[in-house]
Symmetry: C2
Subunit: 342 residues, 2 copies
């Protein structure tokens, strides 16, 4: 089955839900999104056509706990779930990870569709079938691959998204600009954000269609993430913002001046506002980065790890490193805070 | 990836684990099995070759709770799990369901192998990739499909299995005898149990290779289960014993005298000891059966349900019924307790 990607207006979402071929909808929504938009989703109207079971989940990553998973599962199962039920997730990346994991495991898996409501979810998190929960020991360590049937992109939701959330989404857009020349051109030429969103989403969809399980080219999407995840944890950053600084560090690590120059061009076109590195007071948390990398779930059995670099716009390189050599390099380069800026 | 099915002696299992291509083994064992056999699995010996993380799970279905799932996941994740780790499950059907669900969702899925230790697990539960947990509202309502890499059949474990457990496994062997003419002949000719086990396991493996997700022929394996599950719950029966009585009821329901006659032949060849119906004191719990069927996760969106019948040995029929008509038939036929015996 392939994911259908479609741009819709807010008022069309109800109609899309009505058209789903299932007699039961499990509707999983983020509590904040629901507080803003519940009047726009007249459940009584859908209930004329289908049985609708609603679950309002805590905001974002708060939902991604096993205890929340249990509560939501049992609530749906109490009402009876057949394999022909269809789950619809409305929310940001945290919500769709959570709801997708529910969809992937309830009665051993039912179909699902997503309405991403944050920029990050529209361009990245809701696409590609990675779903899951957080462990006490790391994000997304519990999960599954479960491709949604539909992704309905509705930029109307961005009106109620905070500037910080928008910036986080832009971090991933900047990443895509390095991976895809057409996206780079769109961004550089300041095309409308809605068009950029759709192109990024389509790009990720194409990549994940070719390589669902991170076997080869999907790895390129990891640009900025290996170091970024460590920064995200060390400084409690928003995901996309940490990816941005993860890219800055990886370009410095390999002395990639060309990419740093392009990064400056891209960020200005997108009105990027986070120009001060999170380590500006103090230094790059090299020890934390290393201890995080040592626990990376993507390390291979031979103690090697893939790190994504970029040789030119649209030309990502998946390079395998010996873990110890990589750590040595990080210690050597990143312990020099003065040079590590934009 | 295809499952490898192999008969091994107890002393060979350690060697098979050593040969797994992974630097880390997550070993999940049933506490009772472990109390009997831990001396035979010298973990120190494996630890010379690989990192071994052990989790001893509560007996059988007790493990299949979300709370146990969380404890086991967090224990493994605390020690660090990479995608190249390999999980080995040693135990009965409950344990392998639980352990397989762990394998399917830890770091979004790692490879796994099973050593089934009960007859039921050897011929049925450990084969075919259905893994999962129980909900408060029913068994296996939370789960996944995750094919094991190896199934190591070791009949030595049957020496410490209770007679009741053996009988439960025989219930599934009896079911296979209706689905496969070669198995029927083996059973009728009283071939060694070990050979019958391997043939049943291979039969199920072949069926599930063709149809992992219950789309068509795998449904035949459900013979006796739709009514059996209801009996299992109503009388707290062992699974295979409820499947046996589920078959008795379904043969009566469609007045299938030929199958009832074959059932008598097969059960005698296998030294089946449960000749008294669970409803012998009282009557068939028709109301409970109906309310159970109404919640069956296999009901389709058009309110139809497939029920498996057998026209002749080796010739299962997947017949679709309108739920209301089926319920009418059950009420009509099964409310006559006197005739409903072997």
């Amino acid at each position: 089955m392939e994911t259908q990607l479609e741009r819709v207006a807010l008022f069309e979402i109800l109609d899309r839900m009505k058209r789903i071929e299932a007699d039961t909808i499990l509707l999983v929504v983020d509590e904040k999104v629901w507080s803003y938009y519940k009047d726009r989703f007249d459940i009584d109207k859908i209930s004329q056509f289908k049985k609708v079971n609603l679950w309002v989940a805590p905001r974002g990553e708060e939902a991604k706990r096993i205890s929340e998973y249990e509560k939501c599962m049992e609530s749906f199962l109490e009402k009876g779930v057949h394999r022909n039920a269809h789950l619809v997730a409305i929310g940001g990346g945290g919500l769709s990870d959570f709801a997708g994991f529910i969809a992937s495991t309830i009665v051993r898996g039912i179909k699902w569709s997503v309405v991403p409501t944050t920029l990050l979810a529209m361009v990245d998190a809701s696409i590609g079938g990675k779903v899951g929960l957080n462990s006490r020991y790391g994000k997304n360590l519990i999960g599954n691959f479960h491709i949604p049937e539909n992704i309905w992109l509705c930029s109307d939701f961005l009106k109620t998204v905070s500037e910080e959330e928008i910036q986080s989404g832009l971090g991933e857009v900047i990443k895509y600009s390095f991976l895809s020349k057409p996206i780079f051109e769109m961004v550089k030429n300041r095309q409308p954000l809605e068009d950029i969103i759709q192109t990024c989403a389509q790009y990720k969809l194409d990549i994940t269609r070719q390589d669902l399980r991170d076997g080869n080219i999907r790895k390129a999407l990891n640009l900025g993430h290996t170091l970024g995840h460590a920064l995200e944890k060390a400084f409690s950053l928003k995901h996309g913002i940490s990816v941005f600084w993860g890219m800055v560090l990886v370009f410095h690590l390999f002395n990639n001046e060309k990419c740093l120059e392009n990064l400056r061009v891209i960020k200005d076109s997108l009105n990027w506002k986070n120009d001060v590195p999170p380590w500006s007071v103090g230094s790059v948390p090299v020890k934390k980065i290393i201890s995080y990398i040592e626990k990376d779930k993507k390390i291979k059995s031979n103690n090697k790890i893939d790190l994504i670099q970029v040789s030119d716009i649209g030309v990502p390189l998946i390079k395998e490193y010996n873990l110890i050599e990589l750590i040595d390099k990080i210690e050597e380069v990143l312990n020099a805070p003065s040079r590590l800026t934009l």
